[in-house]
Structures are given as structure tokens and as C-alpha cells.
Symmetry: C2
Subunit: 359 residues, 2 copies
Amino acid sequence: MHKNFKNIDKIVYGKGAFSQLNAIIEPIRKENDKFFVFVVDKYFEGKELANRIPNRDEDLLIFIDVDIKEPYTEQIDNLRDSILEKKGLPSGIVGIGGGSILDIAKATALMFTNEGSSTLYQGLDLIKKPGIYHLGVPTISGTGAECSMTAVLTGPEKKLGLKCEWTVLNQVILDPELIASVPTDKWFYTGMDCYIHCIESESGIFYNAYSKAYGDQALQLCREVFVNEGRGQNDENNEKLMIASLFGGLSLTYSEVGACHAFSYGLSVVKGYRHGIANCIAFNHLKEFYGEAVDEFRNMLEIHNIDLPQNLAKDWTEDEIMEMSKIAYNLTHMWNHAIGMDWKQKWTVEDIANYYRKM
Amino acid sequence: MHKNFKNIDKIVYGKGAFSQLNAIIEPIRKENDKFFVFVVDKYFEGKELANRIPNRDEDLLIFIDVDIKEPYTEQIDNLRDSILEKKGLPSGIVGIGGGSILDIAKATALMFTNEGSSTLYQGLDLIKKPGIYHLGVPTISGTGAECSMTAVLTGPEKKLGLKCEWTVLNQVILDPELIASVPTDKWFYTGMDCYIHCIESESGIFYNAYSKAYGDQALQLCREVFVNEGRGQNDENNEKLMIASLFGGLSLTYSEVGACHAFSYGLSVVKGYRHGIANCIAFNHLKEFYGEAVDEFRNMLEIHNIDLPQNLAKDWTEDEIMEMSKIAYNLTHMWNHAIGMDWKQKWTVEDIANYYRKM
């Protein structure tokens, strides 16, 4: 059985495409209680982009600070409940921001139509009904949230996505001008999410010709953006990185993330590291899994003068390390891909803990 | 304004994926008059693949000989009318074959719900209502019909697609095993459709970073299949060619075909050449448009020992040449891309005729 995957319904790509948002959502405004919700990264509050959002009087414009904490189940439940109470069921929800904001839009769209807490739906195909219309506008590139069939949430017990075909966005607006002002460290760490997706995709059993075609092209683009002559943040590379992020995400459609993301989830849940930097902290120690790609990664750190947090484990308690290790160990689908379906015979919580102790 | 393009709703990719057809259409069987139509290339009649089609007693299984003639408007209208008369409105239509069969499935799906002759809808966004569910299973790779938003039909007056977002397939099954038995000349000519899509995509004004990412990867795969060491028809290359075809088609989503397709349409309409070979006949003479790619194309002809029809014009009447030239000239969107929006100031029917005279 091969996966039958759901595409993003519609994509518009190009410089200035954000201006088409109003026209795109206009036909959807007839649905449900006829208002839109815009969830926007708090970073943009008071900035020019916020003034360009086509929100009307009846709409809700909500700025969310995702720097404090990654999206979490209680946050989604509260957001859903407060909107329903205040105004009823929206026509649609638009997320404008990075992977966290896109995941909040995706998760909330689903939770408007699925009862109870989002913790009930963390996992594959647990969602029972399609959500409301949801549209994503990435303002930073690398996460692949613009095309993935998951909305990753941290719950009281686990960090795991609401994963089903209805999670996929109905519409994506890819406007490379929007990522022009991203601070260098965020640009790097989020871009590395894409690089690492490609490396993880190719380093495991689910990799196929479809994943390879997307992954090879995304890697090529990452190298143009982060390694080769002409690298760095500029107009041309913003276009390339935006496409790389999409392709890196699409490479995972048939493949899977692996060891690095498993370690990364443990770091995020227990120590609160944001996803991009958590990936990088872990990837730096995974040469046994990813070979020369780790050298290439270290080269990119050096080229861009990125001061990756290191020697962190000395400040972690043994309890914390075991907690992280158990969280990582429980991400079965990642180890299936990275090590093989018999991974439990080869790989233990203690093996994982030993990697964390080096970080 | 950037194009907001519609994706294929769902894709399943992998060896043996054809076996999933029955399970995929099962939920759709509840719609309309609860039967499916399967349109299948006559080549498969009596062959193993035909036995694997999951048609039930209530379904219609129709073998169509597309070697005689490319899809034409009257054929679509008759197919639609006869099915409606016989059994009513199908739940869905499945096309199993090459680009012609996929276009027949796409066009018929639309014509079930749009009244009158398909000649009324040849062009961009003339279709008024979404069609019925349509699913495509390519058995030869290169045309990009599996992802394009057009269903190309030859009418009494023009060769032009029913082009709108509803034309895009609801589901594609990409099973590389199905293209394993394609005869070498068809494999080559249809594969060259993909190669030429990529070259045309990059040689014109609508090309952008999105088109380039898909086109570069498709070209790389074409070179692995047709040029590099390890080239030729084998399991690995069947996978690559199937992905190349998809990516070449997706490269065109934001870009456009150009001069070669314009010339090719004239050859097909007036002299009946099938699309793949017509492209090749034209491309061979378009060095002024495509430069080194024409040398690479000639190298591929030689490598695969393909005897391209040449010196054809000596048997064409001047009337035929002028008819072809006018058909080509009227493909405005192709010349817009290839030459620029001011192409009418630079390019005449007589210029086109001079190219045909060399073919």
C-alpha cells in the first residue's frame, strides 16, 4: 500500500502575491457565519504587513506570540472556544507567519468542527470531520508547514501532530517578498529545518523516487542559499528558499523525518527549545545517522557565523534527560524510517539518552 | 497578478499502486447514478492490465483507439451523450492510458455537466461548472496530462484545450510498473514531450523560480533516462521518467509552452502527426529558439537510434503549409511566452511558414 496523499488545493507563487489575499478569500466569505479569522505572528503587530491584511469590521485579527512557546493543545482549544462563543463559526481562518502560526491555523480550522480537546486527535487520522477553510501565508521558510498534512501540537503528554488529509491547507500564498526581513539567526535555523528534512528523507526506508526528486531539488536550492557563491539573504535566494521549503516538505510526503526530529521533539518539550534550533542542536551530534551531511551543516554554521548552543547537557538533570529520551523513543514512525521496522531490537531509551548527554 | 493554480487533489505513487484503484474509487461510487466509466487505451484490450481493472457489472469499460486520431471535440460529445442516454450520470470516470486517454477522461468529466458541444469551451475558463470525479492512470510518461489544467481537443476549427481549474484530475495513480512495456519509439517521443516542456518553460517570459525548480529537476531526470550512463528503459528509469513527466508538467503551471508546441499543433491538425512526434519534428528545426538544447535533442535521437521523419515539407502543398502556419500563429499564449507580449511586431505567419518549409 502506497500513501495516497492530499495536495494543497491551490497555490499562488510570486513576488507581491500577498496582495491577492483579499480576492482569494472573497468567494469563501459566504460560508458559515461570514467572517474570517486572521492569526498573525505578533512580530508583525504595528508593522507594514499588518496594514496590508484585508480584514473587515466583522473579522477577527489575532496576533499571537509564538516566540514564547510552540503551539499547544490548550491554546488551540481556547482559541476555538473563544471565537465560537464570540462570533460563531468563521468562514475561514488565515495564518500569516512561520510554521507555528501555520500550524495554529491548520489545527484551529480542524478543531472548529471536531468536538472536545485537540489532545483527543494527536496522531494519524484521528480527526473525524473536515475543518473550515484554512489558508496559509508563510513569512519565513523552511518548516514545510505550508504543505504538510500535520499540525504539530505540544500537549500535556506528547508533542504530536493532528495528522490527516484535512489538515492540508486549502490555499497557500507564497510571496518571497515576505521573508526578506527575517533576522539572520531565524533565517538560518528555519532554513536548516528544510535542509534536515531532505537529509532525513533520504536517510531511511520510506525514501522513494518521488521523495528523491523533491529532496534533491530542495537540497540543491539549500546549497545555493546557504553554501555556494551568491549565498545569503537576497531577493533571488528568498525565492529559492521559499521553493526549497515547499519541496523539502513534499519530499517528506512519501518519506518521513527521522532521528533528528525525534531528538528535536524531546528538546522542545522538556527544555523549550524552538523547533529550528532544536533540530540544529541535535543534528550536530548525529554523524552516525547522517554522515557527511553533518560536516556540511557545520560548514554552514561557520559560513554564516551562527553560534549554535552547545554543551547544554551539563545543565540538564538525569530526570530531564530520561524524559527527553522517552519522548524521542515514543516517536515510532520516525525510528521506523530511520532505523527500520525492527528498530526496537536495535535501539533503546538508553541509547537515545547517551546522545542527549553529548549535546 | 500571479496565477493561483489548482493542484491534483490526491496522488498515489509507487510500484504496484494501480492495485489501489478499487479502494480509491469505492467511496465515490455513492455519487450520481452509481456507476463508473473506464476509458482505456485500446492497446490494453485483452492484455493483463485490462483484467486488473476493477470494473463491476454496472460500470462501462470502453476501449478507445487513440492511435488513429488525437482526442477531438465530436468524439467527446458523442461519448458523453451515449453514456448519459444509456446509463445516466456516472459517479466518476477513470482514464487509463497516455495523454490522449487522460485528456479524454478530463474533457468528458467536464462535458457531463456543461451543456452543448465541447467546441463551446475550447479556451481558458470557458467551462461553467465543475465536472464529475475524474481519475487518471498514466501508462506512458512525458505528456504532463496527469497534472495539467487542460484537456487538449482538436475541433473543426482549432486544436485547443478545455482549460480551467476543474480540468485538473481529482486523483492520479502513478505506477511506474505500468510504463515498463511501452515500445521504444513511443517511449522516446513521449519522453521528449517532457524534455521539450522543460526547455520551452525556461525559454520565455513567464518562467519563474517555481517553474525553474520543477523544470531543473525534470531535466536532470530526463538526462538520467535518455543521456547519461545507465540510460534507457529499465525499472529505475521508469520511476524517474514518471516523476520527470509530473515535474515537467508542473514547471508549465507557472510558465508556458512556446514555439515548439505552436508548430507541433499545426503539424498535428493538418497532417495528423501525433503530439510527441510532431514536437520532435518541430524541435529539430528550432535552434534559433532553443540553442544547445536542440543539439542535446539530436544527440538523444542518435543514442536511441530514433529515425525522426525529415524532409517532409516537400510533400506538403503550399495551402497545407499556410493552414499549419495560421494554426500555429493563432496560439497567442505560446508566442506571448516565447517571444514576448509584443510578438506580433516581430513575428508573422510567413515567418512561421518558413520554418515549416524546412521541416
